[in-house]
Symmetry: C2
Subunit: 323 residues, 2 copies
Protein backbone atom coordinates (compact mmCIF):
# COMPACT_ATOMS: atom_id res chain seq x y z
CA UNK A 1 0.00 0.00 0.00
CA UNK A 2 1.79 3.20 -1.14
CA UNK A 3 -0.54 6.16 -0.65
CA UNK A 4 -0.08 9.21 -2.80
CA UNK A 5 2.09 11.22 -0.39
CA UNK A 6 -0.22 14.19 -0.85
CA UNK A 7 -2.74 12.42 1.41
CA UNK A 8 -0.39 12.98 4.35
CA UNK A 9 0.55 16.60 3.54
CA UNK A 10 -0.81 18.04 6.81
CA UNK A 11 1.49 15.75 8.84
CA UNK A 12 4.43 15.35 6.47
CA UNK A 13 6.87 17.18 8.75
CA UNK A 14 5.58 15.19 11.75
CA UNK A 15 6.17 11.91 9.91
CA UNK A 16 9.76 12.91 9.15
CA UNK A 17 10.43 13.54 12.86
CA UNK A 18 8.80 10.21 13.69
CA UNK A 19 10.93 8.30 11.17
CA UNK A 20 14.14 9.81 12.58
CA UNK A 21 13.11 9.04 16.17
CA UNK A 22 12.26 5.43 15.38
CA UNK A 23 15.53 4.75 13.61
CA UNK A 24 17.53 6.24 16.48
CA UNK A 25 15.54 4.41 19.09
CA UNK A 26 16.51 0.93 18.03
CA UNK A 27 19.87 1.58 16.37
CA UNK A 28 21.53 3.71 19.03
CA UNK A 29 20.81 1.51 22.00
CA UNK A 30 21.75 -1.80 20.47
CA UNK A 31 24.21 -1.92 17.56
CA UNK A 32 23.25 -5.55 16.96
CA UNK A 33 19.79 -4.37 15.97
CA UNK A 34 21.01 -1.46 13.88
CA UNK A 35 20.76 -3.25 10.57
CA UNK A 36 17.34 -4.60 11.50
CA UNK A 37 16.19 -1.09 12.47
CA UNK A 38 17.32 0.42 9.19
CA UNK A 39 15.49 -2.39 7.48
CA UNK A 40 12.33 -1.93 9.55
CA UNK A 41 12.06 1.83 9.80
CA UNK A 42 13.94 2.76 6.63
CA UNK A 43 12.64 4.09 3.35
CA UNK A 44 10.23 1.21 2.70
CA UNK A 45 7.74 1.92 5.50
CA UNK A 46 4.45 3.56 4.60
CA UNK A 47 3.61 4.77 8.09
CA UNK A 48 -0.12 4.76 7.55
CA UNK A 49 -0.87 4.02 11.19
CA UNK A 50 1.18 6.86 12.69
CA UNK A 51 -0.11 9.16 9.92
CA UNK A 52 -3.69 8.46 11.03
CA UNK A 53 -2.77 9.10 14.68
CA UNK A 54 -1.07 12.38 13.74
CA UNK A 55 -3.95 13.49 11.48
CA UNK A 56 -6.46 12.80 14.25
CA UNK A 57 -4.20 14.61 16.71
CA UNK A 58 -4.10 17.68 14.44
CA UNK A 59 -7.82 17.47 13.63
CA UNK A 60 -8.67 17.46 17.36
CA UNK A 61 -6.14 20.14 18.41
CA UNK A 62 -7.13 22.79 15.90
CA UNK A 63 -6.40 25.80 18.12
CA UNK A 64 -3.07 24.52 19.41
CA UNK A 65 -0.06 22.50 18.30
CA UNK A 66 -0.07 18.75 18.95
CA UNK A 67 1.79 17.64 22.10
CA UNK A 68 4.83 15.40 22.64
CA UNK A 69 2.39 12.79 23.91
CA UNK A 70 0.53 12.78 20.59
CA UNK A 71 3.87 12.24 18.84
CA UNK A 72 4.84 9.52 21.26
CA UNK A 73 1.52 7.76 20.67
CA UNK A 74 2.18 7.80 16.91
CA UNK A 75 5.60 6.22 17.52
CA UNK A 76 4.12 3.58 19.81
CA UNK A 77 1.58 2.70 17.12
CA UNK A 78 4.29 2.13 14.51
CA UNK A 79 6.45 0.19 16.98
CA UNK A 80 3.64 -2.17 17.96
CA UNK A 81 2.75 -2.69 14.30
CA UNK A 82 6.36 -3.40 13.33
CA UNK A 83 6.97 -5.73 16.30
CA UNK A 84 3.91 -7.71 15.34
CA UNK A 85 4.99 -7.94 11.66
CA UNK A 86 8.44 -9.20 12.61
CA UNK A 87 7.04 -11.94 14.85
CA UNK A 88 4.29 -12.85 12.36
CA UNK A 89 6.98 -13.36 9.72
CA UNK A 90 8.75 -15.82 12.03
CA UNK A 91 5.48 -17.60 12.80
CA UNK A 92 4.33 -17.69 9.16
CA UNK A 93 7.86 -18.35 7.85
CA UNK A 94 7.40 -15.53 5.32
CA UNK A 95 10.40 -14.76 3.14
CA UNK A 96 9.24 -11.44 1.67
CA UNK A 97 7.31 -8.46 3.01
CA UNK A 98 6.73 -5.09 1.27
CA UNK A 99 8.97 -6.30 -1.57
CA UNK A 100 12.01 -6.83 0.64
CA UNK A 101 13.26 -9.92 2.49
CA UNK A 102 11.85 -10.29 6.01
CA UNK A 103 13.99 -9.74 9.12
CA UNK A 104 14.02 -13.43 10.00
CA UNK A 105 15.02 -14.50 6.47
CA UNK A 106 17.78 -11.86 6.43
CA UNK A 107 19.05 -11.94 10.02
CA UNK A 108 17.68 -15.24 11.36
CA UNK A 109 15.05 -16.13 13.93
CA UNK A 110 17.28 -15.02 16.82
CA UNK A 111 17.40 -11.38 15.77
CA UNK A 112 13.78 -11.38 14.60
CA UNK A 113 12.48 -12.61 17.99
CA UNK A 114 14.78 -10.18 19.85
CA UNK A 115 13.91 -7.20 17.65
CA UNK A 116 10.18 -7.86 18.04
CA UNK A 117 10.48 -8.31 21.81
CA UNK A 118 12.54 -5.16 22.10
CA UNK A 119 9.97 -3.14 20.15
CA UNK A 120 7.05 -4.53 22.17
CA UNK A 121 8.97 -3.83 25.39
CA UNK A 122 9.93 -0.31 24.39
CA UNK A 123 6.35 0.45 23.35
CA UNK A 124 4.99 -0.83 26.71
CA UNK A 125 7.42 1.42 28.46
CA UNK A 126 6.63 4.49 26.36
CA UNK A 127 2.97 3.71 26.86
CA UNK A 128 3.22 3.60 30.66
CA UNK A 129 5.06 6.92 30.56
CA UNK A 130 2.23 8.65 28.69
CA UNK A 131 0.73 8.78 32.20
CA UNK A 132 -2.79 8.10 30.98
CA UNK A 133 -4.28 4.89 32.30
CA UNK A 134 -7.12 4.84 29.77
CA UNK A 135 -4.64 5.05 26.87
CA UNK A 136 -2.53 2.29 28.46
CA UNK A 137 -5.61 0.07 28.61
CA UNK A 138 -6.58 0.75 24.97
CA UNK A 139 -3.13 -0.07 23.62
CA UNK A 140 -2.55 -3.10 25.84
CA UNK A 141 -5.86 -4.42 24.48
CA UNK A 142 -4.35 -4.02 20.99
CA UNK A 143 -1.29 -6.09 21.94
CA UNK A 144 -3.65 -8.82 23.23
CA UNK A 145 -5.73 -8.63 20.04
CA UNK A 146 -2.67 -8.98 17.79
CA UNK A 147 -1.59 -12.16 19.58
CA UNK A 148 -5.16 -13.51 19.61
CA UNK A 149 -5.57 -12.76 15.88
CA UNK A 150 -2.36 -14.52 14.91
CA UNK A 151 -3.33 -17.57 16.99
CA UNK A 152 -6.86 -17.59 15.54
CA UNK A 153 -5.51 -17.34 11.98
CA UNK A 154 -3.31 -20.35 12.67
CA UNK A 155 -6.24 -22.34 14.08
CA UNK A 156 -8.50 -21.61 11.09
CA UNK A 157 -6.13 -22.62 8.32
CA UNK A 158 -7.83 -24.62 5.55
CA UNK A 159 -11.16 -24.50 7.41
CA UNK A 160 -13.62 -24.02 4.55
CA UNK A 161 -16.56 -23.75 6.98
CA UNK A 162 -15.15 -20.46 8.30
CA UNK A 163 -17.93 -17.86 8.66
CA UNK A 164 -17.40 -14.40 7.19
CA UNK A 165 -18.05 -13.03 10.70
CA UNK A 166 -15.11 -15.05 12.06
CA UNK A 167 -12.96 -13.70 9.23
CA UNK A 168 -14.01 -10.15 10.12
CA UNK A 169 -13.28 -10.76 13.78
CA UNK A 170 -9.81 -12.05 12.94
CA UNK A 171 -9.29 -9.01 10.67
CA UNK A 172 -10.33 -6.77 13.55
CA UNK A 173 -7.79 -8.45 15.86
CA UNK A 174 -4.94 -8.41 13.35
CA UNK A 175 -5.48 -5.04 11.65
CA UNK A 176 -8.40 -2.90 12.78
CA UNK A 177 -7.88 -3.04 16.55
CA UNK A 178 -4.60 -1.12 16.39
CA UNK A 179 -6.04 1.60 14.13
CA UNK A 180 -9.29 1.85 16.11
CA UNK A 181 -7.73 2.00 19.56
CA UNK A 182 -4.91 4.34 18.59
CA UNK A 183 -7.40 6.66 16.83
CA UNK A 184 -9.45 6.77 20.02
CA UNK A 185 -6.31 7.21 22.14
CA UNK A 186 -5.24 10.22 20.02
CA UNK A 187 -8.65 11.75 20.72
CA UNK A 188 -8.33 11.06 24.45
CA UNK A 189 -4.95 12.83 24.54
CA UNK A 190 -6.74 15.85 23.00
CA UNK A 191 -9.44 15.48 25.67
CA UNK A 192 -12.32 15.07 23.21
CA UNK A 193 -15.79 14.23 24.62
CA UNK A 194 -16.48 10.50 24.99
CA UNK A 195 -18.98 10.49 22.10
CA UNK A 196 -16.27 11.82 19.78
CA UNK A 197 -13.80 9.25 21.12
CA UNK A 198 -16.27 6.49 20.23
CA UNK A 199 -16.62 7.85 16.67
CA UNK A 200 -12.83 7.94 16.32
CA UNK A 201 -12.73 4.31 17.43
CA UNK A 202 -15.39 3.41 14.86
CA UNK A 203 -13.54 5.32 12.15
CA UNK A 204 -10.38 3.31 12.86
CA UNK A 205 -12.28 0.04 13.10
CA UNK A 206 -14.08 0.49 9.78
CA UNK A 207 -11.03 1.86 8.00
CA UNK A 208 -8.93 -1.04 9.33
CA UNK A 209 -11.45 -3.61 8.13
CA UNK A 210 -11.59 -1.94 4.68
CA UNK A 211 -7.74 -1.96 4.56
CA UNK A 212 -7.60 -5.65 5.39
CA UNK A 213 -10.33 -6.70 2.94
CA UNK A 214 -8.64 -4.71 0.16
CA UNK A 215 -5.26 -6.30 0.99
CA UNK A 216 -6.92 -9.70 0.85
CA UNK A 217 -8.48 -8.92 -2.56
CA UNK A 218 -5.14 -7.69 -3.93
CA UNK A 219 -3.65 -11.08 -3.08
CA UNK A 220 -5.89 -12.43 -5.88
CA UNK A 221 -5.86 -9.56 -8.36
CA UNK A 222 -2.29 -8.23 -8.20
CA UNK A 223 0.99 -9.49 -9.55
CA UNK A 224 3.83 -10.69 -7.35
CA UNK A 225 5.77 -7.57 -8.39
CA UNK A 226 3.10 -5.15 -7.21
CA UNK A 227 2.48 -7.05 -3.96
CA UNK A 228 6.10 -7.46 -2.98
CA UNK A 229 5.31 -11.09 -2.07
CA UNK A 230 4.04 -14.05 -4.11
CA UNK A 231 0.45 -13.52 -5.36
CA UNK A 232 -2.09 -16.08 -4.12
CA UNK A 233 0.05 -16.80 -1.07
CA UNK A 234 -2.84 -16.44 1.40
CA UNK A 235 -4.83 -19.19 -0.30
CA UNK A 236 -1.77 -21.42 -0.67
CA UNK A 237 -1.09 -21.21 3.08
CA UNK A 238 -4.74 -21.90 3.94
CA UNK A 239 -5.50 -18.37 5.11
CA UNK A 240 -9.09 -18.11 3.79
CA UNK A 241 -10.06 -14.47 3.16
CA UNK A 242 -13.21 -12.66 2.00
CA UNK A 243 -12.99 -13.49 -1.76
CA UNK A 244 -12.61 -17.21 -0.97
CA UNK A 245 -15.35 -17.30 1.65
CA UNK A 246 -17.83 -15.61 -0.74
CA UNK A 247 -16.74 -17.84 -3.64
CA UNK A 248 -17.33 -20.95 -1.50
CA UNK A 249 -21.06 -20.12 -1.45
CA UNK A 250 -21.19 -20.50 -5.25
CA UNK A 251 -18.53 -23.11 -5.98
CA UNK A 252 -18.87 -26.22 -3.83
CA UNK A 253 -15.89 -27.92 -5.48
CA UNK A 254 -13.65 -25.23 -4.00
CA UNK A 255 -14.33 -26.83 -0.61
CA UNK A 256 -12.90 -30.15 -1.79
CA UNK A 257 -9.71 -28.49 -3.03
CA UNK A 258 -9.26 -26.54 0.20
CA UNK A 259 -10.02 -29.43 2.53
CA UNK A 260 -7.37 -31.59 0.83
CA UNK A 261 -5.00 -28.61 1.19
CA UNK A 262 -4.28 -28.44 -2.56
CA UNK A 263 -2.50 -31.77 -2.30
CA UNK A 264 -2.82 -32.70 -5.98
CA UNK A 265 -1.09 -31.02 -8.93
CA UNK A 266 -3.16 -28.13 -10.38
CA UNK A 267 -5.39 -27.97 -7.25
CA UNK A 268 -4.25 -24.44 -6.42
CA UNK A 269 -4.59 -23.23 -10.04
CA UNK A 270 -8.07 -24.75 -10.22
CA UNK A 271 -9.08 -23.06 -6.93
CA UNK A 272 -7.80 -19.68 -8.15
CA UNK A 273 -9.77 -20.11 -11.41
CA UNK A 274 -12.97 -20.98 -9.50
CA UNK A 275 -12.58 -17.84 -7.38
CA UNK A 276 -11.97 -15.65 -10.45
CA UNK A 277 -15.05 -17.18 -12.07
CA UNK A 278 -17.22 -16.39 -9.02
CA UNK A 279 -18.69 -13.17 -7.61
CA UNK A 280 -16.35 -13.56 -4.62
CA UNK A 281 -13.99 -10.74 -5.51
CA UNK A 282 -16.86 -8.38 -6.35
CA UNK A 283 -18.67 -9.17 -3.09
CA UNK A 284 -15.46 -8.60 -1.15
CA UNK A 285 -15.09 -5.22 -2.90
CA UNK A 286 -18.60 -4.28 -1.82
CA UNK A 287 -17.82 -5.27 1.77
CA UNK A 288 -14.67 -3.12 1.75
CA UNK A 289 -16.61 -0.19 0.22
CA UNK A 290 -19.28 -0.57 2.92
CA UNK A 291 -16.71 -0.25 5.73
CA UNK A 292 -14.85 2.61 3.99
CA UNK A 293 -18.14 4.52 3.70
CA UNK A 294 -18.92 3.97 7.39
CA UNK A 295 -15.43 5.23 8.28
CA UNK A 296 -15.96 8.44 6.29
CA UNK A 297 -19.28 9.02 8.10
CA UNK A 298 -17.67 8.41 11.50
CA UNK A 299 -14.95 11.01 11.00
CA UNK A 300 -17.47 13.71 10.05
CA UNK A 301 -18.08 14.24 13.75
CA UNK A 302 -14.87 16.32 13.78
CA UNK A 303 -14.97 20.00 12.76
CA UNK A 304 -13.82 20.64 9.17
CA UNK A 305 -10.05 21.00 8.68
CA UNK A 306 -7.30 20.02 6.27
CA UNK A 307 -6.49 17.05 8.51
CA UNK A 308 -10.10 15.90 8.68
CA UNK A 309 -10.24 16.04 4.88
CA UNK A 310 -7.12 13.88 4.68
CA UNK A 311 -8.77 11.33 7.00
CA UNK A 312 -11.80 11.24 4.66
CA UNK A 313 -9.57 11.00 1.57
CA UNK A 314 -7.80 7.99 3.09
CA UNK A 315 -11.10 6.08 3.11
CA UNK A 316 -11.39 6.66 -0.64
CA UNK A 317 -7.73 5.98 -1.29
CA UNK A 318 -8.06 2.54 0.33
CA UNK A 319 -10.64 1.51 -2.25
CA UNK A 320 -8.79 3.17 -5.13
CA UNK A 321 -6.00 0.63 -4.73
CA UNK A 322 -8.37 -1.90 -6.29
CA UNK A 323 -8.62 -0.02 -9.61
CA UNK B 1 16.11 -24.53 41.98
CA UNK B 2 13.63 -26.62 44.00
CA UNK B 3 13.07 -24.95 47.35
CA UNK B 4 12.01 -27.04 50.28
CA UNK B 5 8.24 -26.47 49.99
CA UNK B 6 8.16 -25.55 53.67
CA UNK B 7 9.68 -22.17 52.72
CA UNK B 8 6.43 -21.25 51.01
CA UNK B 9 4.07 -22.55 53.70
CA UNK B 10 2.45 -19.14 54.42
CA UNK B 11 1.37 -18.85 50.76
CA UNK B 12 0.92 -22.50 49.80
CA UNK B 13 -2.82 -22.16 49.26
CA UNK B 14 -2.28 -18.93 47.29
CA UNK B 15 0.21 -20.67 45.01
CA UNK B 16 -2.27 -23.45 44.28
CA UNK B 17 -4.89 -20.90 43.20
CA UNK B 18 -2.28 -19.17 41.06
CA UNK B 19 -1.24 -22.40 39.33
CA UNK B 20 -4.87 -23.22 38.49
CA UNK B 21 -5.51 -19.72 37.15
CA UNK B 22 -2.43 -19.72 34.95
CA UNK B 23 -3.21 -23.10 33.40
CA UNK B 24 -6.78 -22.04 32.63
CA UNK B 25 -5.72 -18.69 31.26
CA UNK B 26 -3.72 -20.04 28.36
CA UNK B 27 -5.37 -23.40 27.80
CA UNK B 28 -9.02 -22.34 27.77
CA UNK B 29 -8.73 -19.48 25.36
CA UNK B 30 -6.54 -21.16 22.78
CA UNK B 31 -6.61 -24.95 22.45
CA UNK B 32 -3.53 -24.77 20.21
CA UNK B 33 -1.56 -23.51 23.19
CA UNK B 34 -3.04 -25.99 25.64
CA UNK B 35 -0.18 -28.44 25.46
CA UNK B 36 2.32 -25.62 25.75
CA UNK B 37 0.47 -24.24 28.78
CA UNK B 38 0.47 -27.58 30.55
CA UNK B 39 4.14 -27.78 29.79
CA UNK B 40 4.84 -24.24 31.02
CA UNK B 41 2.62 -24.01 34.07
CA UNK B 42 2.43 -27.71 34.97
CA UNK B 43 4.06 -29.57 37.82
CA UNK B 44 7.62 -28.57 36.94
CA UNK B 45 7.38 -24.86 37.77
CA UNK B 46 8.92 -23.67 41.01
CA UNK B 47 7.02 -20.40 41.18
CA UNK B 48 9.65 -18.61 43.23
CA UNK B 49 8.76 -15.20 41.74
CA UNK B 50 5.03 -15.30 42.50
CA UNK B 51 5.82 -16.83 45.91
CA UNK B 52 7.96 -13.78 46.75
CA UNK B 53 5.18 -11.43 45.57
CA UNK B 54 2.61 -13.30 47.66
CA UNK B 55 4.86 -13.42 50.73
CA UNK B 56 5.51 -9.67 50.49
CA UNK B 57 1.78 -9.11 49.99
CA UNK B 58 0.98 -11.08 53.17
CA UNK B 59 3.85 -9.50 55.11
CA UNK B 60 2.56 -6.00 54.25
CA UNK B 61 -1.17 -6.75 54.78
CA UNK B 62 -0.90 -8.26 58.25
CA UNK B 63 -4.26 -7.02 59.53
CA UNK B 64 -6.24 -7.92 56.42
CA UNK B 65 -6.35 -10.55 53.68
CA UNK B 66 -4.42 -9.91 50.48
CA UNK B 67 -6.47 -8.46 47.60
CA UNK B 68 -7.29 -9.77 44.13
CA UNK B 69 -4.82 -7.22 42.81
CA UNK B 70 -2.00 -8.76 44.85
CA UNK B 71 -2.93 -12.15 43.39
CA UNK B 72 -3.09 -10.72 39.89
CA UNK B 73 0.35 -9.14 40.32
CA UNK B 74 1.77 -12.55 41.31
CA UNK B 75 0.24 -14.06 38.14
CA UNK B 76 1.65 -11.25 35.99
CA UNK B 77 5.10 -11.87 37.47
CA UNK B 78 5.02 -15.56 36.55
CA UNK B 79 3.61 -14.83 33.06
CA UNK B 80 6.32 -12.29 32.25
CA UNK B 81 8.98 -14.67 33.52
CA UNK B 82 7.60 -17.59 31.51
CA UNK B 83 7.17 -15.51 28.32
CA UNK B 84 10.75 -14.38 28.58
CA UNK B 85 12.03 -17.96 29.12
CA UNK B 86 10.14 -19.23 26.08
CA UNK B 87 11.56 -16.53 23.81
CA UNK B 88 15.07 -16.86 25.31
CA UNK B 89 14.98 -20.55 24.47
CA UNK B 90 14.21 -19.69 20.83
CA UNK B 91 16.97 -17.07 20.76
CA UNK B 92 19.53 -19.31 22.51
CA UNK B 93 18.32 -22.44 20.68
CA UNK B 94 18.18 -24.28 24.02
CA UNK B 95 16.91 -27.83 23.90
CA UNK B 96 16.36 -28.42 27.62
CA UNK B 97 15.12 -26.28 30.52
CA UNK B 98 14.33 -27.42 34.09
CA UNK B 99 15.07 -30.98 32.95
CA UNK B 100 12.33 -31.03 30.29
CA UNK B 101 12.50 -30.22 26.56
CA UNK B 102 11.89 -26.53 25.77
CA UNK B 103 8.69 -25.34 24.09
CA UNK B 104 10.46 -24.55 20.84
CA UNK B 105 12.21 -27.93 20.69
CA UNK B 106 8.91 -29.70 21.44
CA UNK B 107 6.37 -27.58 19.53
CA UNK B 108 8.59 -25.60 17.12
CA UNK B 109 9.51 -21.93 16.84
CA UNK B 110 6.00 -20.99 15.63
CA UNK B 111 4.24 -22.00 18.84
CA UNK B 112 7.10 -20.78 21.02
CA UNK B 113 6.99 -17.27 19.52
CA UNK B 114 3.17 -17.22 19.70
CA UNK B 115 3.02 -18.54 23.25
CA UNK B 116 5.57 -15.97 24.43
CA UNK B 117 3.78 -13.12 22.65
CA UNK B 118 0.45 -14.23 24.06
CA UNK B 119 1.83 -14.30 27.61
CA UNK B 120 3.50 -10.89 27.25
CA UNK B 121 0.29 -9.48 25.76
CA UNK B 122 -1.94 -10.95 28.44
CA UNK B 123 0.37 -9.68 31.17
CA UNK B 124 0.33 -6.14 29.67
CA UNK B 125 -3.42 -6.26 29.67
CA UNK B 126 -3.71 -7.56 33.24
CA UNK B 127 -1.18 -4.94 34.27
CA UNK B 128 -3.15 -2.05 32.75
CA UNK B 129 -6.25 -3.32 34.53
CA UNK B 130 -4.59 -3.18 37.95
CA UNK B 131 -5.46 0.53 37.61
CA UNK B 132 -2.23 1.68 39.20
CA UNK B 133 -0.02 3.73 36.92
CA UNK B 134 3.06 3.41 39.14
CA UNK B 135 2.79 -0.40 39.09
CA UNK B 136 2.33 -0.32 35.30
CA UNK B 137 5.54 1.70 35.00
CA UNK B 138 7.54 -0.65 37.26
CA UNK B 139 6.53 -3.77 35.36
CA UNK B 140 6.88 -2.25 31.89
CA UNK B 141 10.42 -1.32 32.93
CA UNK B 142 10.95 -5.02 33.69
CA UNK B 143 9.80 -6.04 30.21
CA UNK B 144 12.29 -3.52 28.74
CA UNK B 145 15.06 -4.83 31.01
CA UNK B 146 14.44 -8.45 29.99
CA UNK B 147 14.80 -7.56 26.30
CA UNK B 148 17.84 -5.37 26.99
CA UNK B 149 19.49 -8.12 29.06
CA UNK B 150 19.00 -10.76 26.39
CA UNK B 151 20.42 -8.43 23.72
CA UNK B 152 23.37 -7.50 25.96
CA UNK B 153 24.12 -11.16 26.71
CA UNK B 154 24.20 -11.82 22.96
CA UNK B 155 26.55 -8.89 22.35
CA UNK B 156 29.00 -9.95 25.08
CA UNK B 157 29.46 -13.56 24.05
CA UNK B 158 33.13 -14.72 24.25
CA UNK B 159 34.23 -11.22 25.37
CA UNK B 160 36.91 -12.06 27.94
CA UNK B 161 37.39 -8.36 28.78
CA UNK B 162 33.87 -8.24 30.26
CA UNK B 163 33.87 -6.38 33.59
CA UNK B 164 32.18 -7.97 36.60
CA UNK B 165 30.04 -4.80 36.81
CA UNK B 166 28.74 -5.42 33.27
CA UNK B 167 27.97 -9.02 34.24
CA UNK B 168 26.06 -7.78 37.31
CA UNK B 169 24.16 -5.25 35.21
CA UNK B 170 23.17 -7.97 32.72
CA UNK B 171 22.13 -10.19 35.67
CA UNK B 172 20.02 -7.34 36.99
CA UNK B 173 18.29 -6.94 33.61
CA UNK B 174 17.71 -10.66 33.08
CA UNK B 175 16.87 -11.81 36.63
CA UNK B 176 16.86 -9.23 39.40
CA UNK B 177 14.78 -6.50 37.75
CA UNK B 178 11.63 -8.66 37.71
CA UNK B 179 12.02 -9.69 41.37
CA UNK B 180 12.94 -6.16 42.50
CA UNK B 181 10.18 -4.33 40.68
CA UNK B 182 7.47 -6.86 41.48
CA UNK B 183 8.51 -6.86 45.15
CA UNK B 184 8.16 -3.08 45.19
CA UNK B 185 4.88 -3.26 43.28
CA UNK B 186 3.44 -5.69 45.86
CA UNK B 187 4.31 -3.14 48.53
CA UNK B 188 2.70 -0.32 46.55
CA UNK B 189 -0.53 -2.34 46.26
CA UNK B 190 -0.46 -2.58 50.08
CA UNK B 191 0.16 1.19 50.21
CA UNK B 192 3.41 0.94 52.16
CA UNK B 193 5.42 4.17 52.73
CA UNK B 194 7.89 4.97 49.95
CA UNK B 195 10.90 4.17 52.17
CA UNK B 196 9.54 0.65 52.68
CA UNK B 197 8.87 0.33 48.94
CA UNK B 198 12.53 1.17 48.28
CA UNK B 199 13.68 -1.52 50.75
CA UNK B 200 11.41 -4.06 49.06
CA UNK B 201 12.97 -3.12 45.72
CA UNK B 202 16.46 -3.56 47.20
CA UNK B 203 15.48 -6.91 48.73
CA UNK B 204 14.35 -8.15 45.30
CA UNK B 205 17.39 -6.73 43.55
CA UNK B 206 19.89 -8.33 45.95
CA UNK B 207 18.01 -11.62 46.12
CA UNK B 208 17.79 -11.72 42.31
CA UNK B 209 21.51 -11.10 41.92
CA UNK B 210 22.29 -13.81 44.50
CA UNK B 211 19.94 -16.22 42.62
CA UNK B 212 21.67 -15.54 39.33
CA UNK B 213 25.21 -15.83 40.67
CA UNK B 214 24.32 -19.13 42.37
CA UNK B 215 22.74 -20.43 39.16
CA UNK B 216 25.89 -19.48 37.29
CA UNK B 217 28.09 -21.28 39.84
CA UNK B 218 25.92 -24.42 39.65
CA UNK B 219 26.57 -24.53 35.90
CA UNK B 220 30.19 -25.39 36.88
CA UNK B 221 29.67 -27.48 40.01
CA UNK B 222 26.55 -29.54 39.26
CA UNK B 223 25.90 -32.55 37.10
CA UNK B 224 23.73 -32.44 33.97
CA UNK B 225 21.16 -34.54 35.85
CA UNK B 226 20.81 -32.06 38.71
CA UNK B 227 20.74 -29.01 36.40
CA UNK B 228 18.23 -30.38 33.93
CA UNK B 229 20.47 -29.06 31.15
CA UNK B 230 24.05 -29.85 30.08
CA UNK B 231 26.62 -28.73 32.71
CA UNK B 232 29.11 -26.13 31.48
CA UNK B 233 26.71 -24.93 28.81
CA UNK B 234 27.09 -21.24 29.70
CA UNK B 235 30.83 -21.33 29.08
CA UNK B 236 30.44 -23.40 25.91
CA UNK B 237 28.03 -20.80 24.46
CA UNK B 238 30.33 -17.91 25.42
CA UNK B 239 28.11 -16.63 28.24
CA UNK B 240 30.84 -15.56 30.67
CA UNK B 241 29.61 -15.58 34.26
CA UNK B 242 31.05 -14.69 37.67
CA UNK B 243 33.26 -17.80 38.18
CA UNK B 244 34.88 -17.29 34.74
CA UNK B 245 35.37 -13.55 35.16
CA UNK B 246 37.09 -14.04 38.55
CA UNK B 247 39.18 -16.95 37.21
CA UNK B 248 40.38 -14.79 34.30
CA UNK B 249 42.20 -12.55 36.79
CA UNK B 250 44.38 -15.50 37.86
CA UNK B 251 44.62 -17.60 34.70
CA UNK B 252 45.66 -15.58 31.64
CA UNK B 253 45.59 -18.63 29.35
CA UNK B 254 41.83 -18.84 29.89
CA UNK B 255 41.55 -15.69 27.80
CA UNK B 256 43.24 -17.39 24.83
CA UNK B 257 40.84 -20.33 25.00
CA UNK B 258 37.78 -18.07 25.25
CA UNK B 259 38.87 -15.68 22.52
CA UNK B 260 39.32 -18.55 20.06
CA UNK B 261 35.86 -19.77 21.14
CA UNK B 262 37.13 -23.22 22.20
CA UNK B 263 37.91 -23.96 18.57
CA UNK B 264 40.46 -26.71 19.25
CA UNK B 265 39.83 -30.14 20.74
CA UNK B 266 40.08 -30.15 24.58
CA UNK B 267 39.87 -26.31 24.74
CA UNK B 268 36.64 -26.44 26.70
CA UNK B 269 37.90 -29.18 29.06
CA UNK B 270 41.08 -27.21 29.64
CA UNK B 271 39.12 -24.02 30.37
CA UNK B 272 36.89 -25.85 32.86
CA UNK B 273 39.99 -27.27 34.58
CA UNK B 274 41.57 -23.80 34.84
CA UNK B 275 38.39 -22.44 36.43
CA UNK B 276 38.21 -25.33 38.92
CA UNK B 277 41.85 -24.73 39.78
CA UNK B 278 41.27 -21.00 40.43
CA UNK B 279 39.55 -19.11 43.24
CA UNK B 280 36.83 -18.10 40.75
CA UNK B 281 34.08 -20.32 42.15
CA UNK B 282 34.90 -19.35 45.75
CA UNK B 283 34.91 -15.63 44.90
CA UNK B 284 31.58 -16.00 43.09
CA UNK B 285 30.19 -17.73 46.21
CA UNK B 286 31.31 -14.81 48.34
CA UNK B 287 29.65 -12.36 45.95
CA UNK B 288 26.38 -14.32 46.11
CA UNK B 289 26.59 -14.47 49.92
CA UNK B 290 27.17 -10.70 50.03
CA UNK B 291 23.99 -9.99 48.05
CA UNK B 292 21.95 -12.58 50.00
CA UNK B 293 23.01 -10.92 53.25
CA UNK B 294 22.03 -7.46 51.95
CA UNK B 295 18.63 -8.87 50.92
CA UNK B 296 18.04 -10.26 54.42
CA UNK B 297 18.87 -6.85 55.91
CA UNK B 298 16.56 -5.05 53.48
CA UNK B 299 13.53 -7.16 54.40
CA UNK B 300 13.96 -6.51 58.11
CA UNK B 301 12.19 -3.18 57.59
CA UNK B 302 8.91 -5.14 57.64
CA UNK B 303 7.27 -6.01 60.96
CA UNK B 304 7.92 -9.60 62.12
CA UNK B 305 5.56 -12.23 60.72
CA UNK B 306 5.61 -15.78 59.41
CA UNK B 307 5.79 -14.37 55.85
CA UNK B 308 8.69 -12.05 56.66
CA UNK B 309 10.54 -15.02 58.17
CA UNK B 310 9.97 -16.98 54.95
CA UNK B 311 11.41 -14.06 52.93
CA UNK B 312 14.52 -14.12 55.16
CA UNK B 313 14.78 -17.92 54.91
CA UNK B 314 14.73 -17.68 51.11
CA UNK B 315 17.94 -15.63 51.20
CA UNK B 316 19.62 -18.48 53.11
CA UNK B 317 18.04 -21.16 50.97
CA UNK B 318 19.52 -19.58 47.83
CA UNK B 319 23.05 -20.07 49.16
CA UNK B 320 22.30 -23.53 50.56
CA UNK B 321 21.84 -24.79 47.00
CA UNK B 322 25.64 -24.57 46.69
CA UNK B 323 26.31 -27.12 49.45
Amino acid sequence: MTPATSLFTPVEADLQILADNLKQLVGNRHPILFAAAEHLFGAGGKRIRPAIVLLISRATMLEEDITQRHRRLAEITEMIHTASLVHDDVVDESQMRRGVPTVHSLFGNRIAVLAGDFLFAQSSWYLANLDNLEVVKLLSEVIMDLATGEIQQGMNRFDSSLAIETYLQKSYYKTASLIANSAKAAGLLSEVPSETAQHLYNYGRNLGLAFQIVDDILDFTSTTDTLGKPAGSDLRSGNLTAPVLFALEEKPYLEVLIERQFAQAEDLEQALALIQDSRGIQQARELAAHHAKLAAEDIEILPPSESRQALIDITEYVLSRLY
